[in-house]
Each structure stands twice: as structure tokens, then as C-alpha cells.
Symmetry: none
Subunit: 497 residues, 2 copies
């Protein structure tokens, strides 16, 4: 096992360097540095691949007598076998390298196509990405549904069968509920918004507010950095070095505030992973995308949009200047439900619908593994689904099929985890509420109680448990999306009574 850990130590060094290079590219590197950075990343990525994918390491790993290993070592070995030899190594090295360069080019093209609002500039790349991913699924093999392979990449053990059940519930419960909400008169809310957005906050002020807020929430600056980038994100080198970014808009102070709250949720997760996983690499970060997003979303939405939290933000803002609205009006503004085109700007209620639309498209593509899916048809499919579910039809590809970067990056199977994450968050909140007086904790600015609960139930375990295990450990129950529906309905019925 000591030999195995030498390989792991190298793998961690490559990951650290690659993560830092990419952080540097997003936050600081000069424009002409891009070629040098992508060159270095390409070399290191290939070295990282070769470090694990080789016969010597494979033999070592499969020759181990697992019975003699510690609990942690057993998990490390199991995960390595799965990630490296059931996944990475199934794809021929040259196809793997070619795919990674396809992704880079597709992402560049996507950005251009999006800005020109022209899907035709991107669709050939999407076709190639789809076809290659189908080929990879076949290399890797599947049991029931080919799409399961991709779902499992982002949310371990998630299958089409489970996801269908989840989205059926969403569809049945939320579509009529949204229709009902949207039939209400919005004149008053429009007036609140007009008054609120007439007050501006400078970038310097927003930077300060973000810092104060993440500090109150428990972000540890001895183990982290806050910086700026085009799109907010969280990244981490290890649990002592977790970095988040936000983006400040002069005319929208709430954008940077809620992206900070979201990323701080991710960051606290990483900072609270137990040190005992530090040297394992593969177990040392957070768990699946779904679990990770549940931790950003419980903060951004469930806690972050409670009255007590919006009051907290309100008073932070009022330290700079008088807001033109009351605290109650601010709460209504933050919790507005609105049918609009962009997933990332969606409120809590419509959010899962945006995700469901992407899920349905991906399911259509990858369930039909042997049928050639024509990328040209997907824009219409996207628009039809928006019209069917939200009653709005995108007028161009920028507000339609080109709005997200995920597909350009080859991340098929990623989206569903976003909606599941929100459902996890509701269920976790339900359990949290039983142990901690959350309202009082927010009023007292005492987030330690909340973070301790999340550390206990989720964070400490790093990547050593499945989502099912974590939900059970944290809430005492199996995953149950009814909590999500109940939470959304009772909250928004109250607001839109």
C-alpha cells in the first residue's frame, strides 16, 4: 500500500498544479499567457494519466490483499479501481487526448456562437461531442440504460429509473403550482424592484460586503481566498486551500451577494473535510456534484432566502446607504418567482424545471445509443420544452440552447445533479431544523451551530461515502423528494397567498 501511496502523492501534485493553473487562468493571468498555460496543462494532464494508467500500477492495485487493508485504504483501492480502470483506462489514450482537445475547441466555439446568438456555429461541435461520448459509453459498457453511465459520473448510483421518478414528481407537482403563482398580480413587486435597483453600490463596497458576509457564514480566511472572475466558482487544492470567486456588477448588488453565499457553501464543505483523508487524494475532497451542490444550495436558497437571512443582508446594505424599500419588501424581492429563460438566474421554484428540460434532452440523446441523433434538431426540442413547461419560447440561441457551458465542456449527465441537490438541501434542512434553532442562529450571526451540523452529517466524510449513505447519516432517512415539494409549496404559498 505504501507503493500505491507514492502514485497517489504524484497524482495529487498534478491535480494541485493543474487546479492552480486553471485558477490562475480564470482570475489573473495576462491575456497573452493563455497558450503557455494550456500547453503546460496539456503536458501535466498527460503525465497524470500515465501515472495511473499503466500495467505496473494496475498489477499492484489488483494484487493487493484487500482483507489486510485499513477501512480507508479499502475505500481508496475501490475508488481507484473504479475511476481509473473501469473508466479512464477503457478509453484509448489517443482518443482521450483527442477528446480533450475537442472540448477545448468546442468551448471556444460555444463562446463565439453564444455571443453571436447563432447555434449553427456550434452544432457540428455538439454533434462530435455527442457521438464521441456515445462511443465512450460503449467502450466503458453499461447495464440497463446507456445514459446511466453518465449520470453515475456526476451522481454516484443515479440511474434513469431513479431520475425519471424524481422528475415525474417535479413535473406533476410544480408545473401547475408555477402556473398558479404566475397568475397573480405583479404590479407591486415591479414597483419594489424599481425602488431597490435605484440605489447603487460601488464595486469596492460590494467586495467588502462579500467579505463580511462569507466571514459571518464561517469561511476561514486562513484556509481560503476570495477573488474575482468572469463566472463565479469554487476550487480547492486541498482542505487548507479553498478558493472562491465572485463577479461584481454595478447595477446588481444581489448578484455578487448570492453568488458569494453559494460559493461559500461549497467552500465551507471543503474546509470541513476531516484531515484523515488528506493523503488519500481520491477521498479528500467533497462527495458527488449533487451532494456538493446541496451544500451551496442549502446556503444560497433554503437558509440564504429565509426572512432572517434577508434581514441580515438588508442591514449590511443599509450600513452603506438607505435602501428605498422595507425589510419585508426586500424579502419579497429576493423570493420572486419568474418565468424567464436562464437557468442560472432562476428562482427556487422554476429552477428544477430548467434542469428537467436538459435532462429530457440528454435522456433522449443517450438512451438511444444506437440511433444517430442529429444535433440540428436539438434547438427546436429545447425551445418546444421551454414553451411546454414554462410558457415561454426563447427568441435566440443565447437565451436558449447555448446558455450553459456544460455540453461544450462535454459534461453530459451533470445537469440532473443540480435538481437532486436542491431536493437534498430541503431534506437536510428539515433535519437541521430539528437540532438547531436556525432562525436564532442567523439572528445571532452564529453560523457555527449550522456548520457543525453539516460537518457532522456530511462534510467530515469527504468523498468516502455515497450520496445515499450521506443522506442517511445526516437526516436519518432515505432520500425523499417529498420534503422538497413540501418545502417549496409551503414557502411559496405563504409568499404568494
Amino acid at each position: 500500500m505504501d507503493k500505491i501511496y507514492e502514485y497517489i502523492r504524484r497524482d495529487m501534485a498534478f491535480s494541485h498544479a493543474i487546479t492552480l493553473l486553471s485558477w490562475d487562468l480564470e482570475t489573473e493571468a495576462p491575456v497573452k499567457a493563455i497558450d503557455g498555460i494550456s500547453n503546460t496543462m496539456e503536458v501535466l494532464t498527460q503525465l497524470q494519466y500515465e501515472n495511473f494508467v499503466n500495467d505496473e500500477f494496475k498489477k499492484m492495485l489488483y494484487d493487493l490483499d484487500e482483507d489486510k487493508l485499513s477501512e480507508i485504504d479499502k475505500k481508496v483501492v475501490k475508488k481507484l479501481k473504479k475511476d481509473v480502470f473501469e473508466k479512464m483506462s477503457k478509453i484509448p489514450k489517443d482518443e482521450y487526448a483527442k477528446y480533450s482537445s475537442l472540448v477545448t475547441k468546442a468551448t471556444q466555439k460555444w463562446e463565439i456562437a453564444k455571443n453571436k446568438e447563432d447555434y449553427s456555429l456550434f452544432k457540428d461541435y455538439l454533434q462530435d461531442l455527442i457521438d464521441t461520448n456515445k462511443k465512450f459509453i460503449l467502450y466503458r459498457g453499461y447495464k440497463k440504460n446507456p445514459y446511466d453511465v453518465l449520470l453515475d459520473d456526476y451522481e454516484t448510483n443515479l440511474t434513469v429509473e431513479k431520475a425519471d421518478k424524481f422528475f415525474d414528481l417535479i413535473r406533476k407537482e410544480l408545473i401547475p403550482f408555477i402556473k398558479e403563482i404566475r397568475s397573480k398580480d405583479t404590479t407591486k413587486l415591479e414597483d419594489i424592484k424599481k425602488r431597490f435597483y435605484s440605489v447603487k453600490f460601488s464595486i469596492e463596497e460590494q467586495r467588502e460586503i462579500s467579505k463580511i458576509l462569507s466571514n459571518i457564514m464561517g469561511f476561514d480566511y486562513d484556509k481560503g481566498v476570495i477573488k474575482e472572475s468572469e463566472h463565479p466558482f469554487t476550487t480547492n487544492m486541498n482542505n487548507k486551500d479553498v478558493r472562491i470567486t465572485t463577479h461584481y456588477y454595478l447595477d446588481d448588488v444581489l448578484s455578487s451577494i448570492y453568488s458569494t453565499v453559494h460559493e461559500t457553501g461549497h467552500a465551507i464543505y471543503e474546509q470541513q473535510v476531516d484531515d484523515k483523508y488528506n493523503d488519500t487524494g481520491i477521498l479528500s475532497g467533497g462527495s458527488t456534484m449533487g451532494i456538493h451542490e446541496s451544500q451551496s444550495r442549502i446556503y444560497e436558497n433554503v437558509i440564504g432566502k429565509m426572512k432572517e437571512f434577508t434581514d441580515l443582508i438588508y442591514s449590511l446594505l443599509e450600513k452603506y446607504r438607505k435602501l428605498n424599500i422595507s425589510k419585508d419588501e426586500f424579502y419579497l424581492l429576493v423570493n420572486e418567482v419568474k418565468n424567464q429563460y436562464y437557468r442560472t438566474e432562476a428562482d427556487e421554484v422554476t429552477y428544477p424545471i430548467h434542469v428537467m428540460i436538459r435532462y429530457e434532452i440528454e435522456k433522449y440523446i443517450f438512451s438511444n445509443i444506437d440511433t444517430k441523433i442529429n444535433a440540428s434538431d436539438l434547438e427546436k426540442m429545447w425551445n418546444d420544452l421551454y414553451e411546454e413547461y414554462l410558457g415561454i419560447r426563447p427568441k435566440n440561441a443565447k437565451e436558449g440552447i447555448l446558455q450553459d457551458s456544460h455540453w461544450a465542456g462535454g459534461a453530459f449527465g451533470y445537469f440532473p445533479s443540480y435538481a437532486i441537490a436542491s431536493a437534498y438541501a430541503s431534506q437536510i434542512y428539515h433535519a437541521l431544523e430539528k437540532k438547531v434553532d436556525v432562525k436564532k442562529a442567523i439572528e445571532d450571526k452564529d453560523f457555527k451551530k449550522i456548520n457543525d451540523f453539516l460537518r457532522e452529517g456530511i462534510h467530515q466524510y469527504g468523498n468516502s461515502k455515497t450520496p445515499e449513505e450521506l443522506i442517511k447519516l445526516c437526516t436519518g432517512e432515505e432520500f425523499n423528494p417529498e420534503y422538497y415539494i413540501k418545502y417549496l409549496k409551503s414557502k411559496y404559498e405563504r409568499i404568494y397567498k
Copy 2:
């Protein structure tokens, strides 16, 4: 040769990652990230070592038919043989990696010890660094003086014999000259300083001034970054990604201004290296430390402290607020000669004396390769030399032996190149003046003429020539330190007439 370039490409990727990790550590990483960063640096340093130091690569390199190579390839091969197989490979792999982690830890310790003004906290690390470096010299072998090996690391072909001759001249000419200057009445200068420093500039204003000034001088922001760190430095990933830092003090606006001018000199050098060396790695950066420092010093001192340049700074400052002194007084203030403790704050005339003191200590340590030198004795030696040469005795280790980071970083043999650099700078300026009307160029804020001359004579060649070759190419003469003595004496006799 193509095969060789595959190794070089990997080497460059490692260098890029390691440089970025170290930049990150100095400018941004959270305090608790240090262990993770030094771990990763250790692994990558070892991999970088193994990439070159192995029999396969050695055979490939030595089997090449050099006659068939291009001029550039010939130089690459020659340098690789020297750096890798006459130097790096002589040190056992595990000792090499261990040393790199010692350096990281020693640097952290040094910072703490310095701030606590307590040499005893650092001396064991210094002992270890000295002993390890002596061992490495023995591994590498030496001809005349063991210290030559270290001198050559920073200034190719520099030896104790040459350095002794240089510092003998300095000692003979400058010690009495400084005594004479310091016998003058300083009442008027003290009054000028009092008035100047009564006017303060905010950090934000200083940041802006640094940016404007480096921009005027020709720093290319598309290929570079300016940031902040405890100690100012320049680093580069490649000629399209050159980064400098400065440090802002509320009560000393000149500190950040002159460190920016200095680092900008380094940066312009790197940015102007010819693209044809980009893929060679080993030839792609600037030349030796001495040549590099000559480029920062010609800007910081020779050009930066000319009347026309101090006038330029004066008018930049006056855009923020009225200074309490005249332009002529400002020139006197900037060019004050003063016996004080810190090398980095030294004026042009006393500067080489600070370096000479370090040279004498290093020469004592490393010339006596077989004698155990006790690190405990070095603080007294340092203080004695300051008393002997400058008539002042440091009251604590912060203003004494702990002031520089070099030894903590294992950079023995580095200091002498600083003084030689100043001498190069004087000689290069002498040549520049014949071709360019420097005074007019500064008045016109037209630094392109100056930078073009430096590019022609020095920068373009990257690391493809020896210092002797570069000085000859740029000035048409052999290196001659008499230019330096003449420059200093004539300038400061005029000021202190």
C-alpha cells in the same frame, strides 16, 4: 533532437507549475496552505529532476551528432550537458528533493525569526543550508576555490579571483569616498526630508502611480501582471507571462516607486527576449543574475535617479497633491548617501559595500570547505563588518543578518552578482548615452528608444550568451569596472560638492 524536445517540453511544464506555485505562495495563498504547496513543489521538483537525470536521456544527448545541429540546438545541448549532467545529476535524487523542502521551511522560519528580531530561531536552518550546500559543492567538484562553484551558478565564469579584484577596487575607492561624503553637513537634507515625508499618499494612490510609471517605462500588461507581496520580486513563466510585485508603505511613497522601477527593468528584459527561444526552455529567459540585475539597476539607479527621471516622478506625485519641496530638492533627497543598515534601501554609493560584506562572509564559509563553520558565529561577523566598513553596528538581527531572504532560500553566491550588476549597468549606460539622447527620451516619456537599445544589445539574446559576450555585444568593450567608479565619483562629487 525531436525526442530531446519532448523532454524539454516536460521540463518547461514542470518549471511553469513550480514557478506559479511559488508565485501563489508569495502573493496570495492562505497561510495554512503552505504545507500543501511545499509538498506539491517537492514532488514536481523530483519529477523534473528525473525527467532529465536518467540514462536514456543522457545517452540521447551525448549520442547526438552536434555538427548536424542548428546553432540554437547546439547551444541547447551544451547548456543541458552543463546544467544537468555537470551539476544537477551530481546530487543524489533524494537529497535534491529534501533540499527543496528544507528551503521552503527555512524561508518560513526566516520570516518569523526576522519579525521577532531573533537570529536564534533561524540559525539551525542556516547551519543546515550551509552544510548541505558544502556537501553539494563536494558532489559537484571544484577546480580552484570551492566557492567558485556557487559564484558560477549566478554569474557564469565569475570566480573568487575575479571577484576579489573587483571588490578590492570597490574597497580602495569607495570606503574613503563615502567617509568624505558623510563628513558634510546634512542639516539642509534633513529639513528637505522632513518636509517631503509630511505629505502622505494612500495605498490606492501608490498602486496607481506604480501602474502609470511601469506603463510609461514600457511594461506590457498583455504579457504581465503587477501584484503585491511582502518583498518585491519579478518572476516569469515565459516571455508572454512576466509578473512583478511591489510593497506599499503608507509613510514611504518612494519605496514602492523605486521597487516598481527596479522590477519593471527586470520585466522588460524578459518580455523582450526573442520568440525564437520560446521552445528551448533553457535559453528562453534572461541571462545570468548579474546581467539581469544590470537591467533592473540601470533603470532603478542610473536612469531612475537622473534629474530628468526624478522630475518625472515629481510631476506624477504632484498630480495627487502639492509636495512641500522643490524639484531640485527632490533630486537631492532621492540621491542621498547614507550609512544605514539595509542593503535594499542603500543608495548607489554605499550599495556595493553592503554586498561586499556578504561576499566576505560567504567566501569565508565556502572557501573553507572542510572546516565546520558555526552558524552561531555569523551574526557577530556580520555586525563587525558593518562597523568596520560603514561605521554602524546593527542593534538586532532584523537590521542585521536576517534582513535578506537569500540565504534562507539557499541562494549562496548570489549577492556578488548584485554589485557586478551595478558595474555592468554603468558601462552599459555609457554605451547607451552614445546612441540615444537619454535625457530627452525621459522628458518625452519615450522609453522605446532606451528599450530598443537594451533589446538589441542584451534582451533579445535571452539566455543564449555568456555575460562576457553580452557586455561585449552591447558596449563593444570587455567588462571594465572603472566605468562604475568613475560614474559614482563624478555624480556624487557634483551632488556633494
